[in-house]
């Protein structure tokens, strides 16, 4: 029997692999792939957000109404009673000769169901596919928007992932202070829905006496001033422009050194804005952000070039956050908080300390026990056990997996279960030795006899952890991952590795024939 055999070589390679790839994680070096610590271990903020997708459908309806209005104004087609209902847009074309042109224009809009009565009353609704698509896009756009905003906010490694149909998971490991947390949450939840709306100058004086339903009869809505809720504006319900046309937004300062936000519109937005301002000289333009009027300046002349500004007594920080939010696009629908978990950094540190103690103590107990009970066989099993831990860490680091508290528990548990394979094998060997079989044969048969049981037992455990992974969330997933890696690694170390060691030690064992020393037998 050769000292070196293929099993031993593979085992030695896996030791080298395990040690090399787990070192960056143990030593916390800057280079190399490391295990990232879960939020429960390093502290941070975890949010589960639900997107109110129905809102996106409503705003889609609104934008269709805006398109109809802009087109008919532009082409001087007379329509009346243009109104937005929760799931439809209705209007009437007055001149029958223009119906053809309106129809042609509407055909260009995707996913629209057009129904028309004999008096040319139009009702526009969305097809079910379009509604589903709008909802789906709302969530992906929200993910994109939130990610952009957090990136610009300058947090370390924010994670924004879509989960299921309407939910978004946001993880922010870098959050240390209360103020950071608050700012991040505001940035996430700010709709940043910029709308430019026309003030209804004909009825503006009546705004303080008018009710909401009365206003809607004229196609108007009543909005509050951002700073002074008592101050109200009567504006046209259908906006001239919305935030989707904004391409850039920057903080600037006005003459009195107040923070303002300069925004730039894309080409379509610039054209619409230019046309509108040309037609409305002398009237007021309300700059509305998230349903509140920030300012309503008089239009003095046509504003070309597609840029405008929002002033309204912002603080510098506030203006900065609004600018970030505008730049990264509006949230197509508002988000609600479904779940929030925030862990302070000190708690995370405590958790690491406690589980490290548990890991080391449990590990030490198992190691000592194995040596006392099995002698050299126990030492061999322990070598496999240590390698096992290195490999788990190495593989997790390679895949950039996250170590969570339940994940730590998973490793601790693996320590307990990983010796199982060696216990089964050693017990088999001892049983054969008791029947006076030669050491060489006992080792070989011990391994082959034990193999089927170990395989069946490991496969079932693996199956359960796969199910755990599929149905679990966050920490549970982490636990399932460590257990699975642990089981697979133990097949490599405890079965293949120890077999290799035995093979290379067999000549020595046969010479000594000391069963007490090698297997702890009486």
């Amino acid at each position: 029997m050769k000292i070196l055999n293929y099993r031993l070589i593979i085992f030695i390679l896996s030791i080298i692999f395990g040690v090399a790839f787990s070192m960056p994680s143990f030593l916390q070096t800057n280079s190399g792939k490391k295990i990232s610590l879960g939020l429960d271990l390093q502290g941070g903020l975890h949010l589960l957000l639900g997107v109110k997708t129905q809102e996106a459908v409503v705003s889609k309806i609104k934008s269709i109404a805006a398109t109809v209005k802009y087109y008919t104004d532009d082409e001087e087609i007379l329509i009346e009673d243009l109104s937005i209902n929760p799931d439809s847009v209705t209007f009437t074309v007055l001149d029958p000769d223009e119906v053809k042109r309106v129809d042609d224009m509407l055909k260009k809009i995707k996913g629209l169901v057009i129904s028309k009565s004999q008096d040319n009353n139009y009702e526009l609704t969305l097809t079910p596919q379009e509604i589903a698509l709008t909802k789906d896009q709302a969530v992906s756009q929200a993910v994109e928007t939130i990610r952009n905003r957090l990136d610009q906010f300058g947090l370390a490694e924010p994670t924004v992932i879509r989960q299921g149909k309407t939910d978004i998971v946001v993880e922010l490991p870098g959050i240390k202070t209360q103020a950071d947390e608050q700012a991040a949450r505001e940035l996430i939840s700010k709709p940043a829905n910029l709308e430019l709306m026309a003030v209804d100058e004909d009825r503006a004086d009546q705004v303080y006496t008018m009710s909401g339903s009365e206003a809607s009869q004229y196609g108007d809505i009543i909005l509050e001033d951002a700073k002074d809720p008592a101050k109200k504006y009567l504006v046209k319900e259908i906006p001239i422009l919305n935030g989707s046309q904004v391409t850039d937004a920057q903080v600037a300062f006005d003459k009195s050194n107040q923070a303002i936000i300069n925004f730039t519109l894309n080409s379509i937005g610039a054209k619409v804005f230019g046309d509108f301002t040309a037609k409305s000289v002398g009237k007021r333009l309300a700059i509305v952000l998230d349903g509140k009027v920030y300012s309503a300046p008089n239009i003095r002349e046509r504003i070309g070039g597609g840029s405008g500004q929002i002033s309204g007594g912002f603080s510098v920080v506030e203006a900065g956050n609004v600018a970030i939010a505008l730049r990264s696009g509006a949230l197509p629908a508002s988000v609600e908080l479904l779940e929030k978990r925030s862990v302070g950094p000190s708690l995370g540190a405590d958790s690491i300390k406690a589980s490290m103690i548990a890991l080391i103590a449990g590990f030490a107990l198992v190691v000592v026990f194995m040596i006392v009970y099995y002698g050299m066989a126990g030492v061999i099993a322990n070598v496999a056990l240590v390698t096992n831990i290195f490999i788990i860490i190495a593989i997790m680091a390679m895949f950039g997996a996250t170590l969570t508290l339940p994940g730590m528990a998973g490793i601790v548990l693996t320590v307990g279960m990983a010796v199982d394979a060696n216990v089964i094998i050693t017990e088999r060997i001892k049983e054969l030795l008791r029947n006076k079989v030669s050491i060489t044969k006992a080792v070989e048969d011990g391994y082959s006899n034990a193999m089927r049981a170990i395989l069946d037992a490991n496969v079932t455990t693996l199956l359960v952890s796969v199910i755990l992974y599929v149905y679990g969330t966050g920490p549970i997933k982490g636990f399932a991952i460590t257990i699975s890696i642990g089981i697979l690694a133990s097949m490599l170390t405890a079965i293949l590795g120890t077999h290799g060691i035995y093979e290379s030690l067999l000549p020595k064992m046969n010479r000594e024939k000391n069963l007490r020393k090698w297997f702890g037998m009486k």
């Binding site: 609600e336 479904l338 978990r341 528990a409 601790v412 548990l413 199982d420 920490p475």
Partner: protein, 323 residues
């Protein structure tokens, strides 16, 4: 060192009825506990808000309770010590839906004047999420049972599968009974513990069953009880040893792992004890009670081998071009 004499065969099956009786009492008690006392669902499943606060000195729990009782929002909150005297957990059943509202700021304000403290953790789980988690948890459990059933039926025989499932249900029910009895808060980590237990207990049972399968195939013995006795006795050393090493580790986790991992470790601790007991005394007796027939199994095995051989013959003939 050796715990058990290698060649001694214990007569487990002779005493299977008393053990089955004892297990029945345990299982029934657990079910009664679960139905009457129920389990204490934590916020992961029930929804709600949890705030963990650490004080510099011992937390003035009575004072905190007084202050919270005076506010409208936190009137029905529960306050409990968490691990040590200076750390407490405040649980509120309501949870906000707005991303921007900040509960920890509110709590900080309300508790001002109770001493120096630090808010270490704030968990808010909405009711929708809780319901979803409960559903998924149950789903995972049922799915695990089905997968195990299929795998064991395929590798062994359907009675083995049924017996191992019965043993699993036995172990999990008793562990849940203990969770209910001691009022342990059921959160995601307890679910993980129960599912681990599933794997662990199955592991133990499979090792014993593997020995029985081997005994049936290799020995000439046709009395199932005798085969079972021999198999369980032969694996006794392994069963207790593995349980012992796992027990060591989980016990250290329980004593040193900190409050947060306590429920998890406790559930596993109970599970390991019950799992070990059931794989020695209970699992195999189900096999006997289900009237597993050695003769049938052997005939089937012989047929299987015959079929296999025929297949090989056919293949050989096919390859030689005679078919």
């Amino acid at each position: 060192m050796e715990f058990f004499k290698g060649d001694k065969i214990y007569n487990f099956m002779g005493k299977r009825l008393p053990f089955l009786g004892f297990s029945t009492i345990l299982v029934v008690t657990s079910i009664v506990l679960l139905l009457t006392k129920g389990v204490n669902f934590g916020i992961d499943f029930a929804g709600g808000t949890l705030v963990q606060v650490k004080y510099e000195k011992a937390a003035p729990i009575d004072k905190i309770r007084d202050i919270l009782n005076k506010t409208k929002e936190y009137k029905n909150s529960s306050i409990t010590k968490f691990g040590s005297d200076d750390e407490i957990i405040i649980r509120v059943t309501t949870s906000t839906n707005s991303v921007s509202s900040d509960l920890s700021d509110e709590i900080r304000n309300v508790l001002k004047g109770t001493g120096n403290f630090e808010i270490r953790r704030v968990d808010i789980v909405g009711p929708k999420v809780g319901g979803e988690l409960r559903e998924k948890g149950l789903m995972a459990f049922v799915l695990s049972l089905i997968v195990i059933m299929i795998y064991v039926s395929f590798r062994f025989e359907w009675r083995f599968a049924l017996a191992s499932i019965l043993a699993l249900v036995h172990d999990v029910t008793i562990a849940l009974g203990a969770v209910s009895l001691f009022g342990i808060e059921v959160n995601l980590d307890i679910l993980a513990a129960v599912l681990t237990l599933l794997g662990y207990s199955l592991n133990d049972t499979i090792i014993v069953f593997d020995r029985i399968r081997e005994g049936v195939q290799t020995s000439k013995e046709s009395d199932l009880s005798k085969v079972v006795n021999e198999s369980v006795s032969r694996t006794l050393s392994r069963t207790t040893l593995t349980s012992l090493t796992t027990f060591f580790v989980v016990a250290t986790l329980y004593f040193f792992g900190g409050e947060i991992i306590n429920g998890f470790a406790f559930t596993l601790l109970v599970g390991i004890i019950v799992g070990t007991y059931s794989s020695i005394f209970i699992a195999a007796s189900f096999l006997v009670q289900l009237k597993f027939s050695i003769e049938d199994f052997r005939t089937k095995e012989v047929e299987k081998i015959k079929k296999q051989k025929e297949k090989e013959k056919m293949r050989a003939m096919f390859e030689q071009g005679t078919v």
